[in-house]
Symmetry: C2
Subunit: 389 residues, 2 copies
């Protein structure tokens, strides 16, 4: 397995902890820093595999929780595994189901053994244990798989201590449960916003010698400053020669701050979810293409953008598609937003190669208005409520 998943550090930035790397997987190389679009239910929403290749995606994520419930991991396995099932021949990462079980599922009951939860699809009862989470991910067959972890509210000290003990015990059980040798199992550092817990978690997991390490439980309600502080604690404790994955993070400014702190991999639903809500990335911040000001705007979403959408269509046309409720709206907007983050990853790699990542980061952030913490928190609250309905 060591050879199949070789991670090569190609260059490090002198002005930051940014790294340029190449992560070899059975389905191809992932050049890092990399952003992975999310294909929750075995499809990156509104895109097909050719789109993803054209966009230059080298890694996509799929959700174990969703695929376990529908169509079922056994169905995916019978159809030849996730790559064959969804027609994507590049690298895939599956999460463990932990995040969804703890954030989405109703009526969950946690014990040291595992979690009992109700399906969001039909309310049926299910049990997930660390052994099952690995077993299901082995049926799905992704290149990178994740340990089953508990994702607590980040500010609750007592809960974080208790959950971390379980997450560590579960990590060891996941390691022991793994049977396939063609999948890289990553450990997940937890510990909320508490530096000492994060430190203990990183040290414990490094002791288990995983082929890669994720940092979980961030971008879940804490401030940007807290996220940065946790990264500053954790990444220096992780081995240089293994990839580091910041889970669920995808805002442009967070990619830059994460890379500056030594992160190699990111994933997030943000670009695809925003796209379906008509919110489009530009280097001057997000725009909402439904706005009346774009009704007769012949310019592309962003001047100079190389994506198919910007090369072909006007803001006026995109606005029309959204106003008219056309399916193509979601597709074209998603192409643009995913391109924006993949291009940002490419630009970051080029900047690290030229040893000028700091200047690149400063220049990008100087023009890019960051959504204030309060607004993000309110958006998250609204989204949670709408999911709860």
């Amino acid at each position: 397995m060591a050879e199949t998943f070789d991670f090569t550090l190609l260059q490090t930035d002198t002005g930051s902890r940014a790294r340029l790397g190449r992560f070899r997987t059975p389905h191809g190389d992932v050049h890092t820093p990399a952003f992975a679009p999310v294909g929750t239910q075995a499809t990156v929403k509104a895109l097909d595999p050719r789109d993803l290749h054209e966009l230059g995606a080298e890694l996509i994520l799929a959700n174990t929780y969703h695929l376990y419930l529908r169509p079922g991991a056994d169905v995916v396995a019978e159809m030849g595994g996730l790559h064959a099932f969804m027609g994507w021949d590049g690298p895939i990462l599956t999460d463990s189901g932990g995040f969804q079980v703890f954030s989405l599922a109703e009526n969950r009951k946690v014990s040291d053994e595992g979690v009992v939860f109700g399906s969001h699809v039909d309310g049926s009862r299910h049990t997930f244990t660390p052994e099952m989470a690995v077993g299901v991910q082995e049926q799905l067959g992704a290149d990178i798989i994740m340990c089953f972890d508990e994702c607590p509210e980040p500010h609750d000290r007592a809960y974080n201590e208790e959950a971390l003990a379980r997450t560590h015990a579960w990590a060891a059980r996941c390691r022991a449960a793994q049977r396939r040798t063609d999948q890289a199992l990553f450990g997940i550092v937890q510990g909320g916003v508490f530096p000492d817990l994060r430190q203990a978690s990183a040290e414990f997991l490094v002791g288990l010698d995983f082929p890669g390490y994720a940092i979980g439980g961030l971008s879940v309600g804490e401030s940007k400053a807290q996220m940065h502080a946790m990264l500053d604690v954790v990444t220096p404790l992780l081995p240089e020669g293994k990839p580091r994955y910041l889970m669920g993070v995808g805002a442009p400014e967070d990619l830059l701050e994460g890379v500056a702190r030594g992160i190699d991999l990111f994933d997030c639903v943000l670009p695809t979810r925003l796209a379906r809500n008509a919110a489009l990335f530009t280097h001057q911040g997000r725009i909402n293409i439904r706005n009346a000001q774009y009704a007769r705007d012949p310019a592309p979403v962003e001047e100079g953008c190389g994506c198919y959408t910007c090369r072909t269509f006007s803001r006026a046309y995109l606005r029309h598609l959204f106003k008219a409720g056309e399916i193509l709206a979601a597709r074209l907007a998603t192409i643009h937003n995913v391109h924006f983050l993949l291009q940002l990853a490419r630009d970051m790699r080029a900047a690290i190669a030229e040893d000028c990542f700091g200047a690149f980061k400063d220049e990008f952030l100087a023009g890019y208005p960051i959504i204030p913490h309060e607004v993000r928190a309110a958006n998250r609250e609204r989204r949670a409520q709408s999911l709860g309905r």
Copy 2:
């Protein structure tokens, strides 16, 4: 204009009235018999222009009524016309708005002058006259445009007589109103299910010397036998050297029967609408891919089909996408269904070229179960009710 819109009859079938032709337009050639996918609101639902080129579409249709209401013909004109607006550089046909005004719009009031109707978008009042229908279509800028016509219930003799008189007067006014010389204006033969009215309509319109002729008011509730009888009356009266367009017809069996009776062009929402409802064409009839029997079916929708969907994905994956409510479901299903009809058109052209259209038609129909008239009528009724809601 005669040269721009040259229609060349390349071959005629000896065993039927089927014709092989090439219709030259300012945006390229349409090889006939041809099927035009429908892009009601300036997008063939779920597809982008590259998809349409890859599928081999040579002509698409857009709806004047919808585009007039949203985003507005003036917006489309300001954005450079329909081709530039929607990023499609091939031939486009726009209808006149007549069909929608008479079938969709609420509270319409018809006079010899034109029609006053309420918008389905916001209830606002609008007036369409023959002159306006041409003017709006000149703003949109399609290659082929249609006369404003009245579409009565096909079995009501008195209403058909009255409506036909208006349709004829309006055809003459449309002819007179046309200003642009780079658009081919087609006349529309009406007359319900009444052979003498159909004959009178064909003769009247041929007298106005249009560059092409459409047959309207069919596939709107009459039986297949009645549709065939009307085609048998009309096409022999139309000039050999002009294209003939059967409006709103797209069931595979209707394409075959239409071509056998001398039709060159077809359009219909059927393949795209069925696709969004998980109903997929095969040479053995339609299948509904949501059915449980496809849950673990590794085969493509149709063995041997050359479309991207069938080349790449299993029935099991398509079923999963539909069950999971994924946007990609609509896209992949639409690709397959549009391919099916465009391939049927290509196969018909090849059969005519080899002078064996009759054998080709018989062989196709022998394997293809036709939806009974009663089921089609019930489906139409259900659809009308759901639109009325």
